[in-house]
Symmetry: C2
Subunit: 203 residues, 2 copies
């Protein structure tokens, strides 16, 4: 048995290696992806490389909310139809994208860039919190919705932010907890069931 040998040119090896650093792609699926790209050079490989270069050239972080976009302020912050009295606070840009995809928010956002995690050395100064407090002081802002993950870290971050926002005139809210749509009780954890019962309401 021989191992460690090169089976393709260094350009292809490097492509596989870099693709393997994308989330959700292990080494095996990175090879599959590389092969799909190589087999479809003109339809996929070349256009994707061009799209990446275009995105890299135009990439900006929104100075208002922390979103990533090709304009600053970002598309969402510049949208004139948005309700600016409500700021939806999320941990990560992926959460902003998820809410936008669902089309359930017609307000503006604020991206923290993570959650408090003392064990990992992530304190308030590492998150985009100062700018949130600043924004919350603006008279047009009435409500700050803490749309953070229902995890220990997310909830302790929400607790910290609630304290920090106490000096402002905004009302602070959080997402409802309960049974997810289509959720089967049998498969839900005790915490979710307890929250759903506690927050029950009349039909």
């Amino acid at each position: 048995m021989r191992t460690g040998r090169t089976m393709a040119g260094p350009e292809i090896e490097r492509l596989v290696q870099l693709l393997g650093r994308l989330p959700g792609l292990g080494y095996r699926s990175a090879r599959k992806a590389a092969l799909a790209l190589l087999k479809r050079r003109d339809e996929l490989l070349v256009p994707l490389a061009a799209a990446m270069n275009a995105a890299a050239d135009k990439l900006l972080e929104c100075s208002v909310c922390g979103n990533i976009d090709t304009i600053d302020p970002c598309t969402v912050c510049q949208d004139p139809r948005r309700d600016r009295s409500l700021i939806v606070v999320v941990e990560d840009i992926s959460d902003l994208w998820a809410l936008e995809r669902a089309g359930v928010v017609n307000a503006v956002y604020h991206v923290l860039g993570g959650h408090l995690s003392p064990l990992d050395g992530i304190g308030p100064e590492r998150l985009n919190i100062g700018r949130l407090i600043e924004r919350a002081h603006h008279p047009e802002v009435k409500e700050v919705l803490l749309a953070l993950n229902a995890t220990v870290e997310g909830q302790s971050t929400a607790h910290y932010l609630t304290e920090q926002l106490e000096g402002t005139a905004v009302s602070v809210s959080r997402l409802a907890q309960g049974v997810p749509l289509g959720g089967e009780l049998d498969y839900l954890d005790e915490g979710t069931l307890a929250a759903a019962i506690k927050a029950r309401h009349r039909i």
Copy 2:
């Protein structure tokens, strides 16, 4: 609820859309991958775009075996340490890569580019078969190993190739069938169990 709106610049939307065309990445994971790229512009996005362009510029199909590489003949065909008396026939380049990764083949390959599939209109003329027969006539070739998938299509392709190779001096072989390493009998299909029993051998 509002849907269908643009939540980021067109360059980012296009990046997500093209990433979603890679095997193994659905729309959701394509967004995750795009976000990872955008967040790591200099460490990942720019190098990956460059690697793609480099691969696209240098991409060649090996005129001997049908492999994809940046040189022609490919790295494997040019390797002077390979045993040229054995040609390992595979359906797809991914199979060649799998065998190379395992390091269990020290011979040369021949990539068919698929399998016979009359229902999909894929006849022998659509596969890289003519060149295989040509290669098999070369006096240095002693054996052709049909390393095709253990599927109906793979096996009927193997059957067809065996017939085509009858006029040559080469011996035609195929992979052994049986219990995979670490395989639990309880989880194996009847066909595999039958093959393993039929091909049993003395310890």
